[in-house]
Amino acid sequence: MATLVLDNGAYSAKIGFSQEKVRVIPNCQFRSKTSRLKTFTANQLDEIKDPSGLFYILPFQRGYLVNWDVQRKVWDHLFGKEMFKVDFADTSVIITEPYFNFSSIQESMNEILFEEYQFQSVLRTNAGSLSAHHFFSSRPSELCCLLVDGGFSFTHIIPYCRSKKMKEGIRRVNVGGKLLTNHLKEIISYRQLHVMDETHVINQVKEDVCYVSQQFFKDMEISQMKGEENTVVRDYVLPDFSSIKKGFCKPREEMVFSGKYKTGEQILRLANERFAVPEMLFHPSDIGIQEMGIPEAIVHSIQSLPEEMHAHFFQNIVLTGGNLLFPGFRERLEAELRALAPAHLPVSVLQPDNPICYPWEGGKLLAHSPDYDEIVVTREDFEENGHFICEEKFDI
């Protein structure tokens, strides 16, 4: 029997059979300006030649699955003959959900997986539990770990002790990749060029130029300087989707500090935007979100847990999720935590090589573990006992 691992994120789905490699695919549908009659599903995004003004249809709202029609279309595409050719009667699926998922969403998930698709067996879990499984199987001597899961909709802090989720320690900071992209879009539109419709392009800008500052106010001063002295400023060449397919940063030696470029490209000049945008992960109050930043929330989470575990948590902080990929994030978080944590406790923040697929890899390991059959719910089980058995077995 095959096992399909699906880390069903609000922006991208990480999917693959447990024997094979993972693929990262947009978990949404698109409409483009050029071919208006067609809706593009998931990786059909690559077929769109001109993705300017791309329109998103997302199945998730604030991190929770609400639009089942869209989700079903994406899943139909993923499971279907174009992609994974899933033989449902002979396939077990590991699927992830957000923390504290609503019970009504959990029930519809059960029904769709067992009754619509008719999977042979299902394991519903959190991405964090898969990450924790990955962590504990690569470091069997560790007792606890604290996951920081930065996604599209929000950032979660989840403590695990011996692969058990400590629910009372979970914290959510409502800053995710969508908010950062939208904020960047907004300030660019106000300061230089109207790009409010260009979420797709600006998301790429964010991934290409944004970084986490190690000395925020020092960088603010540098980015205020003029000419060559300003080592922060970058000129970003926007794609026009005919000759320039993908935007890029102008190399520093080609930058013109005063006056205009002679080449006709469209340029965005980014200075304090580069680090002020990711800064919201550390200080959500910068834009008026009355919440702690990630370092403060980590300390708050650890302090709510039994004292004898504190040392273990501070030593095993693991960063997962695509929104924490900003250069400098790990270093800055470690430095801030060092300042906040009790002086006698060592602090270490670990970022795996591929934080986006870290949970998926954990799911892969779990699928090959000997007691996998014990933790799943089979279709017969579900038909016999209904939602009750899922509630019993799954720890959401």
Binding site: R31, K33, R36, L37, F55, Y56, I57, L58, Q61, R62, Y64, V66, W68, D69, R72, F100, F102, S103, S104, I105, S108, E111, I112, E115, E116, K167, E168, I170, R171, R172, V173, N174, K178, L179, N182, H183, K185, E186, S189, Y190, R191, M196, D197, T199, M220, Q224, N272, A276, H283, S285, D286, I287, G288, Q290, E291, M292, G293, E296, A297, H300
Partner: protein, 171 residues
Amino acid sequence: MVLEKKSSARVEADSRRRVLDEATRQRRLSRQLEALEKDNFQVRIAVPWILHQLSMTTPLSSLPPPGPTARLPTFSETEEPEKKRRKTRGDHFKQRFRKNFTTLLEEENLSDRAEPNYLSAEALPSSLPPRLFCCVCGFPSHYTCTTCGGRYCSSKCLLTHRETRCLKWTL
């Protein structure tokens, strides 16, 4: 007549200026934050004219009109029962789950639950004072616009702010 004209121009200008109260400022802020959660800036891609026409002509087409007749069970043996069941199921799901996040959150009644849940997991307000940035250029700011409470860093930025965003939210 001469006496009536005596009041100073500055005082008069001040009294004419609208000053937003705290509640309005808060509402503006929450509207800004709400906007940051949007998936797309435009509400939806305009439906092309041809689609519109299509939808207008459906009653005349050969397709059976959607309505109670479509829901009646049919007992023809020729059709695959498996396929049909899946289809009705789908409709059922559509009706049952056409809810948005806020409705779902309300239905869960989380506020009176003791165990950790979505509401209790939200990070608390920070103990640090908020840092203030110019709403025009993004650099640290020292001054507050008296009218709307927005921040600015220099008289140049204040002018831009007054012309563009003060008392209106342009984007």
